[in-house]
């Protein structure tokens, strides 16, 4: 049985994994880059080891170094979290070769799902619907035109080895087919050294819905229902919810079965996610499989009541799944907001810096997966997500109300965050009514980013301004006063105590 785990990640997901380790009595080893000495995941771990410089390639992506530390500290397993090495087949293989359990997908599954054309073919063989298109590379411009017209425009040309939007071309007009095919191909060669290009029908305004699956080492696979991830800005998820407002029980059962079939097709083990595009008529198409834990996994945990990291560890320990498909039930509704240190009013510029003060939302139905704390300096080297705010409530209406409440309670000073932007999203009628697709944020862009106050049926603009003036002004004059005679009282509230004790007019 696994007794010690190296968590090959940082920030909130590292702590997320360590929390489950702590509960299971498993020791956690943190690794950290030189700029992450003060990251809370280092404090949280039982053991910690610095693995190199700030740049990810020198530390969190440094396979040799991580394997070296794993052996030196005698760990039984490595959990990669998400990002970094989590979908790196070579790393999975290397762990296996070194006799260390990799708490992630098997190497073969990562490789197969990483090749898009191969994955499409595999899904078709397994009876999982894919977006209409080719199952193999397109050789010539003539084929490209013929096939594209056969599928019906609009279509997308995509690089088989692709990722990150490179090598993708969208075509609405017949006359653009040739040019698009050729640019896609040349971009594929320059970006991935592999010019294989295929074509797919372009689904307009789709919903992005994904199914969580878990598979054990005995071939058992269950799905844990869906997550709705259509609230995206530039293909980045901003807010997720479960269940999907679009879903029907019949569709859930059907898509769930396909998700299980997809996972079984690659002999999947561990936690994974099958992403689907769904159109307004509830046609669904396999998009890709993420062979790791997702950022948004907590909303599934809240709704089905399963700790996914614990189950990952159980599976890695060679235990059979604790439950069968019929044991999985959704209860209530969960929403996740990604809290980022960024300036939403200024084109979402990242805003690293020092956190002065945090007030965390508490109470019923609130979960905060975060790693920042008072006085923490958010480094500029990694992404801007500083935490995930998750709510659960008995139904969608109550969950939305709760998210409003907890965004109201969450106070962060010192760096700019997207909390106010998220709060505005919660008010948009399409969101409230559950009628939105992946175009949602783009369509509502002007409302969401213009300098408008959050509609919380409160005080006027000018009243807030006066409050701001009063707060700053009083602090200023109290400081002026206090700088004159030094007080020995260093209690944290000394300022207001002292202020309260004195009376009368202050000269300024």
């Amino acid at each position: 049985m696994i007794k010690k785990i190296l968590v090959a990640n940082r920030g909130e997901i590292a702590i997320r994994v360590m929390r489950s380790c702590q509960e299971m009595g498993i020791k956690a080893l943190a690794v950290y880059s030189e700029v992450d000495r003060t990251s809370r995941h280092v404090f949280y771990a039982d053991e910690a080891c610095c693995i190199g410089g700030a740049a990810a390639k020198d530390s969190y992506l440094n396979i040799d170094k991580i394997i070296d530390v794993a052996k030196r500290f005698n760990v039984d397993a490595i959990h990669p979290g998400y990002g970094f090495l989590s979908e790196n087949a070579d790393f999975a293989k290397r762990c296996k070769d070194e006799g260390i359990i990799f708490i992630g997908a098997p190497e073969h599954a990562i490789r197969k799902m990483g090749d898009k054309i191969a994955a499409r073919q595999m899904m078709i063989d397994a009876g999982v619907p894919v977006v209409p298109g080719t199952q193999e590379g397109i050789d010539s411009v003539e084929d490209a035109v013929k096939i594209a017209k056969g599928i019906g425009l609009p279509v997308m040309f995509k690089a088989s080895a692709g990722g990150g939007g490179k090598g993708i071309r969208l075509v609405y007009d017949e006359k653009d087919i040739e040019n698009s095919f050729l640019t896609s191909k040349s971009e594929a060669i320059s970006s991935f050294g592999n010019g294989t290009v295929y074509v797919e029908k372009y689904i307009e305004s789709p919903h992005h819905i994904e199914f969580q699956i878990l598979g054990d080492q005995f071939g058992n696979v269950v799905h844990l229902c869906e997550r709705e991830c259509s609230v995206q800005r530039r293909h980045q998820k901003v807010l997720e919810e479960s269940p999907s407002p679009l879903m029907t029980p019949e569709l859930r059962e059907e898509m769930g079965k396909k998700a299980v079939a997809a996972a079984k097709a690659v002999n999947y083990e561990g936690a994974g996610t099958i992403e689907f595009l769904v159109d307004d008529n509830l046609n669904y198409y396999f998009l890709e499989m993420n062979t790791r834990l997702q950022v948004e996994h907590p909303i599934t945990e809240e709704v089905v009541g399963v700790d996914l990291v614990k189950e990952q560890i159980n599976i890695a320990n060679g235990l059979p799944l604790r439950f069968k498909q019929e044991d999985i039930h959704q209860r209530g509704h969960s929403i996740e907001c990604r809290i980022c240190a960024e300036d939403a009013e200024n084109n979402f510029t990242p805003a690293p810096g020092i956190i002065k003060q945090i007030t965390e939302p508490l109470g019923m139905g609130v979960r905060l997966d975060s790693f920042v704390y008072d006085g923490y300096e958010i480094p500029m080297y990694y992404d801007s997500m500083i935490g995930k705010l998750i709510v659960w409530a008995v139904n969608r209406k109550y969950a939305i109300e709760r998210m409003r409440r907890v965004l109201y309670e969450y106070k962060i000073t010192g760096v700019k965050t997207n909390i106010s932007y998220l709060r505005k999203i919660i008010d948009v009628p399409e969101f409230v009514n559950g009628k939105y697709n992946t175009n949602f944020l783009e369509v509502n862009k002007s409302y969401l980013t213009e300098d408008k106050k959050v509609n919380d049926n409160s005080e006027s603009e000018s009243e807030s301004e006066n409050i701001a003036i009063i707060a700053a002004y009083i602090d200023y004059i109290v400081n002026l006063e206090e700088n004159a005679p030094k007080t020995a009282d260093n209690r944290p509230i000394s300022k207001w105590r002292e202020f309260g004790k004195r009376s009368g007019m202050i000269r300024i």
């Binding site: 990242p350 106070k411 009063i470 009083i474 202020f499």
Partner: protein, 171 residues
């Protein structure tokens, strides 16, 4: 005392103070409030008619400009004391508030410098690219100007608010 909030000015005066109860005049309107404030900047204000407000203040590292959050809004509030006034007046006589430097509000790394010392640059032209948290930002000059000095080089890591390029405005 003069107080600047955003782009507006206000005349603020403390009228009286009894324990935590203060009476303040803002542009002539009197506000009676009960105020307490914690060392970490949390501030609770109860107005005369019983409304309970919270503000989170971030004290200035230098100068007199506070950042104050009230509900979902963030305000820059500056106390205009004698020194601030002096500096401001000097600046005004020096040629208005024309842009005299390029700086990044947040820490980052210099990806690319697009100009050289002595270059004449047109308004709106980007001069430097800074990267932080996997995102790149371009900084542009606001007016026609000459590049007076370049204080960083490509690959340098910078702090927030650091001057990267100093500018000589063209009249």
């Amino acid at each position: 005392m003069e107080v600047r909030i955003g782009n507006e000015m206000a005349e603020v005066e403390l009228l009286s103070k009894e324990d935590n109860k203060v009476s303040i005049s803002i542009n002539g309107t009197v506000y009676d409030v009960d105020i307490v404030m914690a060392e970490n900047g949390l501030c609770s204000i109860i107005t005369k008619d019983g409304k309970s407000y919270n503000a989170e203040i971030r004290r200035p590292d230098k100068g007199n400009e506070y950042t104050v959050n009230v509900l979902f809004d963030s305000y820059q509030v500056e106390m205009i004391d004698l020194q601030t006034k002096y500096l401001r007046n000097r600046k005004n006589s020096d040629g208005g508030v024309a842009q005299d430097r390029i700086f990044s509000p947040m820490p980052g790394k210099i990806v690319k410098i697009l100009v050289e010392k002595g270059d004449k640059v047109e308004a709106g032209k980007p001069v430097i690219i800074v990267e932080a948290m996997k995102m790149q930002s371009e900084y542009k000059v606001k007016n026609d100007c000459i590049i007076k000095d370049i204080l960083v080089s490509e690959g340098t890591t910078i702090r927030g608010d650091e001057t990267l390029i100093s500018l000589e405005p063209l009249a």
